[in-house]
C-alpha cells in the first residue's frame, strides 16, 4: 500500500490533483501488468495542505499507522515534507519519495536513508539557468519569485550564479501566491527593467499572474520559466505573447517525458508541473519493493538507488510491467522514467535539465544540459 500525501487543499491545491493522478497512474500500470510479486497495490491519499505542518503530520500519521501504508509518495512543499519526515516517517521507518520538495536544506537533513526526491535541488537549477541566460545573450534580468522556500531558494541560486557569470539582476521581487493583484510587483519589476524577466513561481499561481500583468502593461516581452512554470497550460492560457520565451525543466534527451504525456492523455488528464516527478516517485517505490523482494520500508530503501541508476536496461513510462519482469528475472534495470531520473548523493535527482522554448503556444524541448 502506498500513501500519497499532497496539498489537496491550500495554496497548491490546483497542482495536487495532477500529481496524485500521475502517481496513481503508475500504480495502476503496475497492478494491470500483474507482475508485482506482492499482489495488488492500493493507494490512499492524504492531505498535506502544503502549509499546515500539524495537519500534514496528522494525515501522515493516519496513513502510516492506521492505513498501514508501506511507503509514502510525498509530501510536496518542503516545510511539511520536513515535518512529516522527521516526526512521522523516520520514527516509523517509512520511505518517503517527494516529487516536488526542492529545498537544498533537505539534502543534508539526516534521514536514515529513508528520504528520496525525484525533483532536483534548487541549487543545481540556478546554475543551469544562469548558463542558459548568458548563452542566449541576456545580460540583465529582473527576477520575481514566489515567496516560499522553493522560490526564494531558487532565486538566491539564480542570482548567485548569474552575477558570478557577469550578468546583472536588476531587482529581486517576491510575489505571494493566491493573491488578488500583481500590478504593484509588475510596476516595480518594470521600472527596474532588464532584458528578460525570470519568474520563479508556479504556472497557475502568482507566476502566471505576474506574466499576464507584465504582458498587459507591456513591461516585459521575454520570460524565463524555471521548472515550476513549465506546462502546456501556461502558453495556452497566455496566448501567442509568450512565444519566444525560454525555460528549463529537469530531464534529459530521453523519450520519457513524451511517453508520460501520452499516458496521461490516455488516462484522461493533462500533464502539469511535478506530474512526471510524481509518476517517477511512485514507480521507484514499487520497483524498489520488487527488487528487494520486500514491502518493508527499512528493507527496500536500500534498493531505491539501485533501480533508479545504471547499469541495467533503461525503463520508460509505460514499461513498468516489463521492468518488474526483468527484476524478477534477476536482471538489472535503470529507471529513466518521465524525468530521466538519476539519483545521486543522498538520494536526490541529479539534475539534468532540458532547455525549453515556447513556440506555437506549446512548450518544446530544444536542448539538454
Amino acid at each position: 500500500k502506498i500513501g500519497i500525501i499532497l496539498g489537496f487543499t491550500g495554496p497548491i491545491e490546483s497542482l495536487a490533483p495532477v500529481m496524485a493522478k500521475s502517481a496513481e497512474m503508475a500504480i495502476d500500470e503496475v497492478n494491470k501488468s500483474g507482475n508485482f510479486t506482492h499482489g495488488k497495490i492500493d493507494s490512499v491519499r492524504g492531505d498535506s495542505t502544503c502549509v499546515d505542518a500539524a495537519a500534514a503530520q496528522a494525515a501522515a500519521e493516519r496513513l502510516i499507522t492506521a492505513e498501514k501504508v508501506n511507503a509514502i509518495m510525498g509530501a510536496d512543499c518542503s516545510g511539511v515534507t520536513t515535518a512529516v519526515l522527521k516526526n512521522v516517517a523516520m520514527p516509523n521507518g517509512i520511505v518517503m519519495i517527494s516529487p516536488s520538495a526542492t529545498s537544498p536544506a533537505l539534502s543534508t537533513e539526516p534521514d536514515n536513508g529513508l528520504f528520496f526526491r525525484t525533483a532536483p535541488s534548487d541549487a543545481r537549477q540556478g546554475e543551469v539557468i544562469a548558463d542558459l541566460l548568458m548563452e542566449k545573450g541576456f545580460k540583465t534580468a529582473a527576477l520575481s519569485h514566489t515567496n516560499n522556500d522553493y522560490g526564494k531558494g531558487l532565486a538566491a541560486s539564480i542570482q548567485k550564479n548569474f552575477t558570478s557569470k557577469g550578468g546583472k539582476i536588476t531587482i529581486t521581487a517576491s510575489h505571494e501566491d493566491g493573491k488578488a493583484d500583481y500590478s504593484a510587483e509588475v510596476a516595480a519589476l518594470a521600472q527596474a527593467g532588464g532584458d528578460i524577466l525570470i519568474v520563479a513561481g508556479y504556472l497557475d499561481q502568482g507566476g502566471k499572474g505576474i506574466i499576464q500583468a507584465s504582458l498587459d502593461a507591456d513591461a516585459f516581452n521575454k520570460f524565463f520559466l524555471p521548472d515550476g512554470m513549465i506546462g502546456d497550460s501556461l502558453p495556452k492560457a497566455i496566448g501567442p505573447d509568450l512565444n519566444g520565451s525560454i525555460g528549463s525543466v529537469p530531464g534529459t534527451d530521453s523519450p520519457g517525458a513524451a511517453k508520460y504525456s501520452e499516458l496521461a492523455k490516455a488516462a484522461g488528464f493533462e500533464s502539469g508541473p511535478y506530474g512526471p516527478e510524481s509518476y517517477d516517485a511512485a514507480a521507484l517505490i514499487m520497483l524498489a519493493m520488487e527488487k528487494s523482494k520486500s514491502t518493508k520500508s527499512n528493507v527496500f530503501k536500500a534498493s531505491v538507488m539501485d533501480v533508479a541508476n545504471a547499469p541495467g536496461e533503461k525503463i520508460f513510462p509505460g514499461e513498468l510491467g516489463k521492468a518488474l519482469k526483468l527484476i524478477k528475472a534477476g536482471k538489472e534495470i535503470d529507471y529513466v522514467g518521465a524525468t530521466a531520473l538519476e539519483l545521486v548523493g543522498a538520494g536526490e535527482s541529479s539534475g539534468s535539465f532540458a532547455e525549453i522554448l515556447i513556440n506555437n503556444q506549446k512548450t518544446n524541448k530544444v536542448g539538454y544540459r
Binding site: F8, T9, E13, A16, P17, R45, G46, D47, T49, V51, D52, A53, A54, A55, Q57, A58, A59, E61, R62, I64, T65, A66, S78, G79, V80, T82, A83, K86, N87, M90, P91, N92, G93, S103, P104, A105, T108, E109, N112, A123, N147, N148, D149, G151, K152, G153, A156, S174, G268
Partner: protein
C-alpha cells in the same frame, strides 16, 4: 441541562471518541490528534479570556502564535558561526534607533500641546528619517548575515538554551507585542478591532517571512531541539524493547507512542495550570469587573474602572497564552515555517473553537478546541469515506463519479463548515454556555 452535566457529557464523549480512534485507527493517530487538541485548547483559552470575559475581539491569533514559535529559534537553536561578528549588534542598534523615534513621537503626542497637524508632521518626519537611518545601518550587516551559508543558516541563530525555556519566552514575546498592538488598536470597536488585529498579525507574519537574518524567512528553520527523546534513540533502549515484547507491539509504533505521550503529559500540565489560573481569576471580582466592562464600557468607566488599562491587561494575558501555545506547537512540529501561519488555520479555526465551545466558559473553550481540531483532522478521511459511500453504486467509468472522487478532498472544507453551522444551530451559545454567576 445544567452546565455541569453538559461538561461531563461532552468530556466523556470526547474521551470515548479519541479512544475509538485509538482502537480503530491507531493509537498514534489518536495521540497526534490529542496533542494538537491540547495545544488548540490552550490557544482557545487565551482567546476566550479576551472575548468571553472582556469582549475584546482578537483576530491576531496567528501573529502571536508565530511569535511564540520564533521564541523556539531564539532560545534553542545554536548561534550561527560568525553571524554576530558580521554585524548582529548593529542590527539591534538600528532597530533601537527606530524604536526610539517611535517612542519619541508617542511622547510628543502625549505631552506636548502643539497643534495637531504640526505634531503629525514632526513625528512623520522623525519616523521616516529614523527609518532611513536604520536602513542605512542595518542593510549591510543583514546582507552579510544572510550570505553566511544561506542554504543552511544565513541567520543569527539562537542561544542554544533548553527548548522548554522557549515556552515562557514565547509567552513573553507575545505579551510584549500585545502591549504595543493593544496600545495602538484597543480603542477601536469590535469589528474594526478584529480586522486591525488581523492586519497587524499579517504584518508580523510578513516580517518573519522576509527578515531572513532573524528567522531564515520562508526558508524555514528545521531541526529544532526536542524536550523529549527521539524515537530512534528509544528504539535502541533496553526497556523499550522489553515493553514492546510484553505488549506485543512493534517497537517503531511503541517508540512513537512514548514520545507522543511525553508531549501529552507536558501539554496537559500546561493546560491544567493555565486553566486553573484563569478559572480562579474569572470567578473573582476581577472577572466580574471584566464582564462589566464588556457589557458597558461607558458606565464601567463612570464606576471608576480604568477601561483602557484593563483592556490592555487582558489583551496581554490572552495573547501571552496564545504565544505560549504557539511556542508549544512549534516545539512539537520541530520546525518553524512562517508560511504556515495563515488566518484560516489559526485565527478562524481558533475562533470557531471558542464560539462552538461556548464563549465565556473556559471548559467550553477546551471542549471546543478538542472537538474542532478533531474534526479538522478527521473530516478528511470522513469526507473521502462519505464520497466513496455515495458513489459506491455508480459505475467506475461514470464521469460524475470520477469528478466527485477527484474533488473529494474539498469535502473537507464543506464538512468543517457544516459542523460549525450545525453546532451553532443547535447550541447558538456554544456547547457549554457562559454560566450565570
Amino acid at each position: 441541562m445544567t452546565n455541569a452535566s453538559r461538561i461531563k457529557i461532552f468530556y466523556i464523549l470526547m474521551t470515548i471518541t479519541l479512544l475509538f480512534v485509538g482502537f480503530f485507527q491507531s493509537w498514534n493517530v489518536a495521540l497526534t490528534i490529542f496533542n494538537l487538541c491540547l495545544i488548540s485548547s490552550i490557544m482557545t483559552l487565551g482567546i476566550n479570556i479576551q472575548w468571553g470575559n472582556a469582549g475584546i475581539v482578537n483576530f491576531g491569533v496567528m501573529g502571536f502564535a508565530a511569535l511564540g514559535g520564533l521564541a523556539n529559534i531564539i532560545i534553542s537553536m545554536p548561534p550561527t558561526q560568525n553571524a554576530w561578528e558580521a554585524g548582529g549588534e548593529i542590527i539591534i542598534v538600528g532597530l533601537m534607533i527606530f524604536t526610539l523615534a517611535i517612542i519619541f513621537s508617542i511622547i510628543l503626542f502625549k505631552k506636548s500641546n502643539l497643534n495637531k497637524r504640526i505634531k503629525y508632521l514632526i513625528s512623520f518626519a522623525f519616523i521616516i528619517s529614523a527609518y532611513f537611518i536604520m536602513r542605512h545601518l542595518v542593510d549591510t550587516p543583514i546582507e552579510k548575515i544572510e550570505a553566511i551559508e544561506p542554504a543552511k543558516t544565513g541567520y543569527l541563530g539562537g542561544f542554544n538554551l533548553p527548548v522548554l525555556l522557549s515556552w515562557p519566552v514565547g509567552a513573553l514575546l507575545a505579551a510584549f507585542s500585545a502591549f504595543i498592538i493593544g496600545k495602538i488598536s484597543l480603542g477601536l470597536r469590535s469589528d474594526y478591532l478584529a480586522i486591525a488585529t488581523l492586519g497587524i498579525s499579517e504584518i508580523i507574519i510578513y516580517f518573519l517571512k522576509n527578515e531572513d537574518w532573524l528567522s531564515r524567512g520562508v526558508k524555514n528553520v528545521n531541526g529544532l531541539p526536542r524536550p523529549v527523546p527521539y524515537e530512534i534513540e528509544l528504539q535502541s533502549k533496553e526497556w523499550v524493547l522489553k515493553v514492546s515484547n510484553y505488549l506485543d507491539t512493534p517497537i517503531t509504533e511503541l517508540s512513537s507512542i512514548i514520545v507522543k505521550l511525553s508531549y501529552s503529559l507536558l501539554f496537559c500540565a500546561v493546560l491544567l495550570i493555565v486553566l486553573f489560573l484563569l478559572e480562579v481569576a474569572v470567578k473573582s471580582p476581577w472577572g466580574r469587573m471584566m464582564r462589566a466592562i464588556r457589557d458597558n464600557e461607558v458606565s464601567a468607566n463612570a464606576m471608576g474602572k480604568n477601561i483602557k488599562q484593563r483592556h490592555l491587561q487582558v489583551f496581554i494575558i490572552g495573547s501571552a497564552i496564545v504565544g505560549l501555545a504557539g511556542a508549544m506547537l512549534t516545539t512539537l512540529d520541530g520546525q518553524f515555517t512562517p508560511v504556515s501561519y495563515q488566518p484560516l488555520r489559526y485565527t478562524f479555526l481558533i475562533w470557531i473553537m471558542v464560539i462552538v465551545g461556548g464563549s465565556g466558559n473556559n471548559f467550553g473553550s477546551i471542549i471546543g478546541g478538542f472537538l474542532i481540531w478533531f474534526f479538522w483532522v478527521q473530516s478528511e478521511p470522513l469526507g473521502l469515506w462519505f464520497i466513496s459511500q455515495i458513489t459506491a453504486h455508480i459505475s467506475d467509468t461514470n464521469i460524475i463519479k470520477s469528478h466527485l472522487l477527484e474533488n473529494a478532498a474539498h469535502i473537507r472544507l464543506m464538512f468543517m463548515g457544516m459542523i460549525l453551522l450545525i453546532t451553532l444551530r443547535f447550541a447558538p451559545k456554544g456547547l457549554i454556555p457562559e454560566v450565570k454567576r
